[in-house]
Each structure stands twice: as structure tokens, then as C-alpha cells.
Amino acid sequence: MQPVNRMRTEFISKSVNEGFARVVAASFVAQADPPIDILADIRTAVSEAVTNAIIHGYEDKEGIIVMECVLYNDRVEITVEDFGKGIEDIEKARTPLYTSKPELERSGMGFTIMETFMDSLTVESVLGKGTKVHMTKQLEYR
């Protein structure tokens, strides 16, 4: 199936850009007129992915985050990529309630929320090179 639209944006890893990223993603997906709760799920998942890139990928140092959204008739595919430190153990990172930064009062729910709120989640990471999170979401109820 051919995409009906595509967008790519990049921004620096400032925490204020978490809000920017989720607004941009939701605005882009809104053109497909999905139900409001599906749009809310996408906003939340994007926020989690971008926050992970800022806190864990770059550890609050400045770097570039790339977000790409590809819109199909029935779904959206969203990729959030950083070029930071990478994840040593992806399986461990995806464990509910696990956080490598308990001092920040992180809940350890980031990947769990992405998995639950989206229809699919894949995580690719190379130590010292960065992390790419790929998520898909159907835009209508099945």
C-alpha cells in the first residue's frame, strides 16, 4: 500500500520539544480524522519516545532527534530516532517498571505505554550510535 502522506522533522533534545513533537505528530495524523482517543494514544506514545531519547539517549546533553510519520489510509507509522548512547539491553529496558534512572522519579513505564497505546513497537539500538523506535497505529477501530 502506498503512503498517502509523509513528514519528517528534526529538533534538538530539549525537554520543551516533547510537547512540540506530540503536537506535530497529532496534527499530521489528524488529517486522517481518526477517533479522538486514537489521537490521544499517539500523542502519549510520541511523548514517551521523545522523552526516552532526551533522558536516556542523550542524557540531557544536546543532540538531534528525528521524527518521521508515514500516513496510510488505515494506519500511521511513526519513527523516533536519536544518535545518542544507545541501549545496552533492550529487553531489560522494555520490562515494565524498570528504570535506569530511579533518582529522576521515572516510573519505568515508557516502553510499556508505547506498547500498550500503539499496535506495534520495535526498538533498534546500537551502543554508541543511537536508538530507533518504530511504532504503528491503526486509525480506526478494528
Binding site: S15, E18, D37, T44, T51, I54, E105, S107, T112, I113
Partner: protein
């Protein structure tokens, strides 16, 4: 993001407005913790009726405040979350704090 406080007996009512994410949660935590120390209270109600967005940073914020309130023998509750925030709360062990 804005936060307002009201004291009701031994309870501090914390009303948050706007979005709770990693960006806003640090300042929120500071404001709530300093007010909780200043006031002669031991319980806390977090009113989420004005919260338009919350991700896992909000769960972390509530869990952190729960520890602080528990450490002085108090109780914490959550009031008026919107449906999309209830979905988030259901995934954590703080769902039962909703009153």
C-alpha cells in the same frame, strides 16, 4: 502548566492545570514538595481535572509524592482525572488512589 494549592484541614489540595510531561514535571515536583513542607498538613489530594495531557512523567510525579506523603504517615488521593488519564493510571499501581 500551572499549579494551585488549597489547605483543607490536614490535607493539601493540589490542583494542576495544563500538561504533565518530563519537561513540566520537575518544576511541578519542586512547587508541590515545598508547599507540602510549608503547610501544617499530612495528607494530599491531587486534582487532575485541569490536566489536558499526562504521560508516564505524571505517574512518576504521583508515585514520588505518594512516597513523601506516606513518609509522614499521611494519605494521598487523586481526583477528577480525564478518561485518557484514567487509561494511563490503570497501567500503574496508583489507579486505586482515585476518589
Amino acid at each position: 502548566m500551572d499549579v494551585r494549592f488549597k489547605r483543607d484541614g490536614m490535607t493539601l489540595v493540589v490542583s494542576i492545570e495544563g500538561e504533565i510531561d518530563h519537561h513540566t514535571s520537575s518544576l511541578l515536583k519542586e512547587k508541590i514538595d515545598s508547599r507540602f513542607i510549608m503547610e501544617p498538613v499530612k495528607n494530599m489530594i491531587i486534582d487532575l481535572s485541569g490536566v489536558t495531557f499526562m504521560d508516564s512523567a505524571g505517574i512518576g510525579l504521583i508515585m514520588g509524592r505518594m512516597k513523601r506523603v506516606s513518609s509522614v504517615g499521611g494519605k494521598i488521593s487523586i481526583r477528577n482525572p480525564k478518561p485518557e488519564i484514567i487509561k494511563m493510571l490503570r497501567m500503574s499501581n496508583i489507579y486505586n488512589l482515585i476518589i
